[in-house]
């Protein structure tokens, strides 16, 4: 963290940036807010980078890079893919951003951590593999790795997407034994009835708060079809189970081939719906049917849904693969 603060101050000092977007301590011991720092002093005072900085900053750069001046940003490996993808889609003006790639060894799922403690928490000390939690009725200890965000437990890469201006620390590698498709595969192996029951159970909890959509870097539409009465499918609430399905299918489809699997949707869902399993299904299908593709990885590569080959499989492939009957 000290290195990051040093870098931030340097960027302010040499005039590379006139502001930096980063994390800062929030109201609760495990809260990290996002703030735009406008001076080196406030940056030094309030900037934080620790186990609770799970939030992806990339989406804010759509708005911020449209403003005058240049903004600095620190990007974890998974955030950097969102960033690169948004540049590719012309949503972020790269020339107005100075991006610093930073290391990440997994972030804490603060909600799960807080839920695991019965008493009110007033302080958390991060001791690396252990988190010491002080509560009103004494201290408890939690193993950091047991409370990682899903996206971190199933981390796909510690390597940044191209497009960052510099890197602090060593550039990581892709995670070879990444487990992110395990649950998708498990679901695929179920019968349609089991799958249907599974998804009904999950999606029926949806309160249509739109947190998943609004936090999603791929859902950067100026005006979402679900908010637009002219689209014919606008919805404010899931008034029928169909609409729960419809919202999540269309949302996943709209980000298919653009989703970088940053995991923010699942992180923010107040109802604990594993939304990443929808996006990962598309990613898995794309990888299997059209070749490995990681959104944001290659600025010149066409997205799978705006591309084709003459030898593509037929849709009937769906009847043959995946799932029992």
């Amino acid at each position: 963290m000290q290195e990051l603060i040093k870098k931030g101050k340097e960027l302010f000092a040499n005039g590379t940036v006139d502001r930096i977007i980063g994390w800062t301590r929030g109201e609760l011991p495990y809260d990290r807010e996002i703030r735009v720092f406008r001076c080196a002093e406030c940056f030094e005072k309030d900037f934080v980078y620790d186990a609770f900085c799970g939030a992806n900053l990339s989406k804010y750069l759509i708005e911020e890079s449209g403003k005058e001046g240049k903004i600095g940003v620190f990007l974890k490996p998974c955030d950097s893919y969102s960033f690169a993808q948004l540049i590719k889609e012309h949503r972020i003006k790269k020339e107005n951003v100075y991006a610093v790639a930073i290391e990440c060894y997994g972030k804490c799922d603060s909600r799960a951590l807080a839920d695991s403690v019965e008493d009110a928490i007033y302080w958390i000390t991060d001791n690396g593999p252990e988190l010491k939690i002080d509560t009103v009725s004494g201290a408890v200890v939690r193993n950091t790795y047991d409370y990682m965000l899903e996206k971190c437990a199933a981390c796909k890469t510690k390597k940044h997407a191209p497009g960052c201006d510099e890197t602090i620390g060593d550039e990581g590698e892709k995670v070879d034994d990444c487990t992110r498709f395990d649950i998708v595969a498990k679901l695929e192996a179920m019968t349609p009835e089991e799958r249907f029951a599974f998804w009904r159970g999950e999606l029926s909890r949806c309160i249509r708060c739109n947190a998943c959509r609004n936090v999603c870097p791929a859902c950067s539409c100026e005006h979402c079809v679900f908010d637009n009465p002219a689209s014919g499918i606008s919805q404010k609430a899931a008034a029928d189970s169909f609409e729960e399905n419809n919202f999540h299918i269309i949302r996943a489809f709209h980000v298919a081939g653009r989703c970088t699997d940053c995991g923010e949707c699942s992180r923010v869902c107040p109802q604990h719906i594993p939304l990443h399993l929808l996006n990962r299904k598309f990613i898995k299908d794309i990888n299997e049917l059209y070749g490995e593709y990681q959104a944001g990885e290659n600025p010149d590569e066409r997205a799978p849904l705006t591309n084709y080959t003459k030898a593509d499989c037929e849709p009937s492939v769906v009847y043959k693969r995946g799932g029992k009957n």
Binding site: H90, R91, E222, V225, G232
Partner: protein, 663 residues
Amino acid sequence: MNRIGVFVCHCGTNIAATVDVHRVAETLGKEPSVVIAKDYQYMCSEAGQNMIKDAIREYGLTGLVVCSCSPRMHEATFRKAAASAGLNPYLVEIANIREQDSWIHKDIEEATEKAVILGRTAIAKVQLNTPLTAGESPVTKRALVIGGGIAGIQTALDIAEAGFEVDIVEKQPTIGGKMAQIDKTFPTLDCAACILTPKMVDCAQNDKITIYSYSEVAAVSGFVGNFSVKIKRKARFVDETKCTGCGLCTEKCPQKKVPNEFNLGLDNRRAIYIPFAQAVPKVATIDPDYCNMLKNGKCGVCAKVCGAQAIDYKAQDTYVEQQYGAIVVATGFNPINIDAYDEYAYSQSQNVVTSLELERLMNAAGPNGGTLLRPSDKKHPKTIVFVQCVGSRCDDSRGKGYCSKICCMYTAKHAMLIREKYPDTNVYVFYIDVRTPGKNFDEFYRRAVEQYNVHYVKGQVGKVVPKSDGNLIVYGSDLIEGKRLVIDADMVVLAAAIEPDKSARSIATMLTASMDTNDFFTEAHPKLRPVESPTAGIFLSGVCQGPKDIPETVAQATACAGKVIGLLVKDKLTCNPCVAHSDELMCNGCSSCEKVCPYGAITYEEKGFRQPDRTTKMRRVAIVNEAVCQGCGACTVACPSGAMDLKGFANKQIMAEVDAICL
């Protein structure tokens, strides 16, 4: 409130026999927005159309639904009728109750019920139809022809004939192309130069035609009627306007060892050269790869001898930017590289030649002055073996899958000419099939066999083995006799397959014109629109579209010119109004739509938008060029925000149809 009129056609008994048309009209008449519903024996008849027109006027209809035959049949008819009564033609919808109902069902109840649903679906859609007006875009009355072979020349001449300006871009120093290298033409055996060179001269003299020789297309933008093309004029180091084509420099140039590409490397030329005597434009060009002056600054002979002072060693590439209404692709072909077919010993023996090389060897302007001498020792060949289908009709891994179409005929021509001029020569032609579909073609081939006694052997040559004396042992099979021939030949002539010129691929990319797997340009429709590319405003002339001989090339060139003229005579182009439209308030500018557009109809613009807080924000938004868009709708689905929609087939309209069907 909508005021919809519904008209149900009996189509004689075609519909009425299985659909209770009265009941359909009656039921649809009860739909909320329907103000009149009628049935009639033949809606497409004059009386039927008048009924529609009267109803439009009487009820002030805002939409019209005709339940009748397929819209592919009479949609245009009813649209025209509506328009003549003052209703926008795009406020008409057809419910197909003949092909898709009465003709496929037997049960009257079922068919009637379906007809009602189809009618209701059309009513649901028509309520959301908007009046559409076909847009217009101006036409630049000038055409560009890429390629100056016989195809390009003919197209250019025909377009110029009609009074339009035409530019020819040719990458070689002269126009003329492959035909200029050919000696005689089949099946008439007239001299190629005698029929081609007057056309080349016509091009040069026609004040409507500008020839950019030694030039290439560098960039293309715009769309049908409004292309903007950047032409690269390669430095030829000779001022075209001053050079008189006297040829003195080409005699004095000390660099004599430059392979002469016009004669396919069979002899040499100088570093400053005019490709051939009848070149157009007849000006010299310095080959920078060989010129001593350009390479190391030591020489300058040509500048000294040039009376016109046309030599300019400091010349640079220049660029011309020009507007065009139409672009013709006439990039032609080349024989394939046959080095891969080592069984024919092409790279081992000078006496194995391609047919095009044979053309030069036999040509009066060729390296031997028209006497057929074999390259290795300049002896008269006594036995010549022709091998057909070298690289044509092959498996994909071995060559071209297609028939090159011209080889059978030119080989017959060669055989015949040789037998005529040198009757003591033995000529064998190994063929798989002899293909002679064409006027006077088979007669020509039969003449070679019957009159000139050319030995046609059904079979193929398996191996050619060069001997030390320059002769070649040819192993071939005679499938009809069921034996193998071993021929001691003086020369072997290979009918190499032809392929599109290598430059075609990059030109196709610039033009967003599509190509097939062999790099031939695809036509808009293989039967009905054979001289147009699917990309509007791009036309195809000659072999760039597929193998063809000279008469066919000229025919296509003229057809192509006809299409171009048809475009250029228009002052404005009317466009299909059912095109994509981007709602810029919702557009993200993410470029997804652009990537799926087969026509390059979508571009992006930074536009200022007034924000609710009264500031202006610049945003990248998609702009659809309505003149280029063909209305496929691929972009509408690629667009995640729904900003892109298709007029006439809008999201809401299709969803209304879905709703009505599922009701």
